[in-house]
Each structure stands twice: as structure tokens, then as C-alpha cells.
């Protein structure tokens, strides 16, 4: 069975590389519509990574919420704000070099931190398979307060967004 694990491992690394590449594209591509599509690819890549971490409920929720709803919103916004076909304006401003330098520096810093420190790895690290029942139990028992607060927050943002975006605002 070890060959199988190697194949799966190789698959996951390929998936990670694919997502990083898609992320770079999402940030640099000139046409905004293509950027949004690359971002969707990143999201699906990340859902795959969650699956490799045995968090399959989270992966499905990620696809459902992000790719289903948030991407729809983003693309709706792009469609409504872009005039038909003038997507040739340069997308990046003067800060490019400075931002690139900062990015490289912070990348190196974070990577060294994450490699150097000895994390308290549990012995049964990767084997734990979480069932949806335990997840629900945790969500509605230990973390019920944040759960309710989040629902209040969602309602307020919903109403707020509608008021902001309404066409004939009586301001």
C-alpha cells in the first residue's frame, strides 16, 4: 500500500503547487474576469488540501460557500462595474517593486519561523478522522456563543449590503 500513499502524497503536493500558481495568476492577470476565475481555481485547490487533512465537511462547505456564493457575488460585481469590453487599463500601480520586496522578505521570515520552531506534534497526528457528528456536537455545545454571534453578524451585513446597494437611495 505504500506506493498508494506516495501517489496520493504526490497528488497533494501537485495540488498545492497548482493552487499557488493559480494564486499568483489571480493577483497579476490584467483581465479582472480571468483573475476571478483563477481565484476560483485556488479555492477548489484549497478544498482539496482540506480533504487531505481529513476535514471533508469543511472542504464541502468551502466549495459551497466560496465557489457557489462568494464567487457569484464577485463576478456579478465585475459584470456590473465593467463597461462592455474596456478591460485593458493597467492593473498595477507604482508600488509594484516595493510590494514585491516586502513579499519576498516576509515569505522568508515566516518560512524560517514555521520550520525552526518545534511544534508540539501529537503522536496520532494525521490519523484522527473527524466525523460530522463530533463536529456538530462541538459547534453547538462548546462554541454555541460564537455561532449565535455570527448569525447576528450575517443578518446585519445582509441588511446593510441591501441598503448600500439599493438603486434609488433616499439619502
Amino acid at each position: 500500500m505504500t506506493h498508494l500513499y506516495d501517489i496520493v502524497k504526490f497528488g497533494i503536493y501537485a495540488l498545492m503547487a497548482f493552487s499557488v500558481l493559480a494564486a499568483i495568476l489571480a493577483v497579476t492577470v490584467r483581465n479582472l474576469f480571468h483573475a476571478a476565475l483563477c481565484f476560483a481555481a485556488v479555492l477548489i485547490g484549497i478544498a482539496g488540501v482540506f480533504l487531505s487533512l481529513h476535514a471533508d465537511f469543511l472542504a464541502m462547505v468551502q466549495i459551497l460557500i466560496y465557489v457557489g456564493a462568494v464567487m457569484t457575488l464577485v463576478i456579478f460585481a465585475i459584470m456590473l462595474t465593467e463597461r462592455f469590453g474596456d478591460n485593458s487599463s493597467p492593473q498595477n500601480n507604482s508600488l509594484t517593486l516595493a510590494a514585491f520586496g516586502l513579499a519576498i522578505v516576509s515569505l522568508i521570515a515566516f518560512s524560517t519561523i514555521s520550520v525552526k520552531t518545534r511544534w508540539p506534534i501529537q503522536e496520532n497526528a494525521g490519523a484522527l478522522h473527524l466525523s460530522v457528528g463530533e463536529l456538530a456536537y462541538a459547534l453547538l455545545n462548546t462554541y454555541v456563543l460564537p455561532f449565535e454571534v455570527i448569525s447576528v453578524l450575517l443578518i446585519t451585513t445582509l441588511i446593510g449590503a441591501v441598503i448600500i446597494a439599493k438603486k434609488d437611495r433616499v439619502s
Binding site: 456590473l80 463597461r83 462592455f84 438603486k167 434609488d168 437611495r169 439619502s171
Partner: protein, 386 residues
């Protein structure tokens, strides 16, 4: 870049730019070659300019160069759904011009044929309206099944299903073949059964009611001012039917009612047509009961011209013959200068006049409604562009 900052439009104008769409001559549901220049804001129609003339065949100019009888087959091609009522109107006009009398039996046969074309037209129009609403061809094919039975009778009588060319001035071309009246009686017996089934399929259908009620409302005074005629006018509640107003031919002998709607929206136009079909069936039953079994079929004064239509020279003068065609008041205005060719020949096309108010009905509605309103107006491009 600075000046870009200061040209700020007022915040209320529509930010999504309006969409100018050509629901063009080649479109699945414009009932022929008819273009609508629609400006949309999102889904709602802001302005709608009809563009016509793609099927203009110079009909009136041709009629001024050929004899009176020769333009009878051309009237078939005006509103190619009801060739018999087109012939009826043209025959009436010339009979008024040359004051010909029409024998009894010919009158009855003319009325029977006219009412059969009304059935065919109304059934097909409801089918096409349902097609625009999205029902995938089922109502149309039920309607066409009934239409086939009636077209078989036309073919038996006149020789052609749609281009009948059957009426002549002073009567009809040839008498009915044997057994035709029995076949007509049989069709009329089965029609109400089909109509009830058709109504259960459509009239109470919630989606149809949602899509058609209070859509494209035509107020009564706008209808009268725009000289709309036919089911559209009666759906808005105006009691005007040329058969009752003019009492031409022998329509005064039949008792039938005129269905009137209240709000004048697409639903009322649909249902007025269903009720009109039921009235036509009443007329047909009475006509079949009273038709004289024998009798000549063309007036004596036209005998010499049967074999030589080009010698027919009506006296100098003008006449306007009109008939209640299924689409509205179809009229023919003809001026004669004594020669075998008419001097001036004009067709009052009901579809064209009913189409003029398309924009007023569609403003403010959605794109889907504009198509349905066009379907309910019931136009045939042959008549609109004649």
C-alpha cells in the same frame, strides 16, 4: 485625470448602462419578418420602435394593373390565415361598386366559410400565444389538429387549403360538392368538445394567469383613439363589431352575442377569442340549419363575365366594403374609372393599425412581456406590410 473627477452625474441615473437590443426580423417569435428596436434597462423595456416593411409586396400597385377578378387570388395572400374573409371583403367592395345582388345560397355559403376561418384563426392565435409564453408547442399542435379538419373542408370546396380564391363578385366560384355540408356539421359538433378540453388546459392555468393578467393593459379610450378593431377592442370593453354595426350580407338573420372584456389585458384578449369562437359556432349551426338546399350560386348580372373576367367594367365611382375579419375590421376601398382595372385600390389592414400601439403597451414591462403582448395583438406580416 483631475477633470474626470469633477464630471459627476447625478446619483439617481441608472448605473448599469441601458442595453439596445434588436429583436430582429429573424427571431423565433415575431410572427414573421418584423423587427423591434428595444432599449432595455436590465429587464424592463424603456423604449420599443417597431420596424416593418420586410414583407412589402406592392400589393396595391399590382391590383391597379390587373382586372378586378384577377386580384382576388392576391387578397388570399394578405392575411394568409383567413383567405376566405379577405375574399369576402373584396367581393363586398366590388358588389357595392357595381351594386350586384347575391343569391341566397351563395350568401349562406359565404357566411359559413367566413365563420370557419374565424375558428381557424382564433385557435391558431391562442396556440401561438402559448408558444410565446413558453409552452413547448403542445397547445399549437392541438390547435393545428382542429385547424386541419377545417382546412380539409376548404380544400374540398375551393381546391386549396389556405389560398382559397373561392369567392367571385355576385356569389361564389363553384357550388359545394356533395356531402360537404354533412362534413361541416360533423366538424362543428366536435369543436365544442375540443374547446372545453383546450380551456381546461389553459384558462385556469396559474402560470398563464400570472403571465397574462394585468400585462399590456389597453385602456378603452386609447383603443378607440388609435382606431383599434377586433378582439383587442372588445377585450377593452368597447362594444363594436362590424357584423353588428354594418349588418352586411345576411348577418342580421343570425342571433349571436359579442363577448366584451373589462381590463383589456393579454388575458382578456385570449379569453375574448375563446368566447368569440363559441359565438361563431352558434352562427354556423344556425346557418347550416337555414341554408337553402338548391339555388344559383352567382348573380345573373355577372353571367357574361364568368368566362371573361377581363371584360368586367364596373361603373365609374368609389366604394368601401368592410368585413369583421378575425383580426379586426378589414376594409377595401376601390375607385373605378370604368376601365377593367381599378383606378385606386387600398386595403385597410387591421393588423397594421392594431400594431401601432405596441410601444404604449410594452413600456415598463419586461422583455418577456413585450413578446407576449406582441403575440396577443395577433398580427400577420402579410397583412401588416401588404
Amino acid at each position: 485625470m483631475m477633470e474626470k473627477m469633477f464630471e459627476v452625474q447625478d446619483p439617481v441615473n441608472h448605473d448599469t448602462q441601458t442595453l439596445q437590443v434588436n429583436i430582429g426580423p429573424q427571431h423565433p417569435s415575431t410572427h414573421g419578418v418584423f423587427r423591434m428596436n428595444v432599449v432595455l434597462d436590465g429587464e424592463t423595456v424603456v423604449s420599443l420602435k417597431p420596424v416593418m416593411g420586410y414583407l412589402h409586396r406592392n400589393h396595391e400597385q399590382i391590383a391597379e394593373n390587373i382586372s378586378y377578378t384577377a386580384s382576388m387570388p392576391y387578397t388570399d395572400r394578405l392575411d394568409y390565415f383567413n383567405s376566405m374573409s379577405n375574399n369576402f371583403a373584396w367581393a363586398l367592395a366590388v358588389e357595392k361598386l357595381a351594386n350586384l345582388d347575391v343569391p341566397e345560397r351563395a350568401q349562406y355559403i359565404r357566411v359559413i366559410m367566413a365563420e370557419l376561418t374565424r375558428l381557424v384563426n382564433h385557435v391558431s392565435v391562442i396556440g401561438f400565444l402559448l408558444n410565446d409564453l413558453g409552452a413547448f408547442f403542445t397547445p399549437v399542435l392541438y390547435a393545428f389538429r382542429e385547424r386541419e379538419k377545417i382546412l380539409d373542408i376548404f380544400e374540398e370546396v375551393s381546391g386549396a387549403r389556405m389560398m382559397c380564391n373561392f369567392l367571385r363578385f355576385g356569389g361564389i366560384k363553384r357550388d359545394l360538392p356533395a356531402g360537404t355540408l354533412e362534413r361541416i356539421k360533423e366538424v362543428i359538433q366536435n369543436f365544442p368538445k375540443f374547446l372545453d378540453e383546450f380551456e381546461t388546459l389553459l384558462t385556469k392555468n396559474e402560470i398563464l394567469c400570472m403571465r397574462c393578467q394585468n400585462v399590456g393593459v389597453l385602456p378603452a379610450e386609447l383603443a378607440v383613439n388609435a382606431s383599434i378593431t377586433g378582439p383587442m377592442l372588445r377585450a377593452s370593453g368597447v362594444n363594436y363589431d362590424v357584423r353588428k354595426a354594418d349588418k352586411y350580407s345576411i348577418y342580421d338573420r343570425f342571433d349571436f352575442k359579442i363577448p366584451l372584456g373589462q381590463t383589456g389585458d393579454v388575458y382578456d384578449r385570449y379569453y375574448c377569442r375563446v368566447l368569440e369562437m363559441r359565438e361563431s359556432l352558434k352562427i354556423l349551426q344556425q346557418a347550416l340549419r337555414d341554408i337553402p338546399v338548391t339555388g344559383e350560386i352567382i348573380s345573373k348580372k355577372m353571367a357574361p363575365f364568368v368566362k371573361a373576367p377581363r371584360n368586367f367594367k364596373p361603373p365609374v365611382g368609389e366604394a368601401y366594403g368592410r368585413v369583421e375579419a378575425p383580426k379586426g375590421e378589414l376594409g377595401f376601398y376601390v375607385v373605378s374609372d370604368g376601365t377593367p382595372q381599378p383606378w385606386r385600390y387600398h386595403v385597410r389592414a387591421p393588423s397594421l393599425i392594431n400594431l401601432t400601439i405596441l410601444e404604449d403597451l410594452c413600456i415598463g414591462h419586461k422583455v418577456a412581456d413585450a413578446i407576449v403582448i406582441l403575440g396577443s395583438i395577433d398580427i400577420v406580416l402579410g397583412e401588416v406590410d401588404h
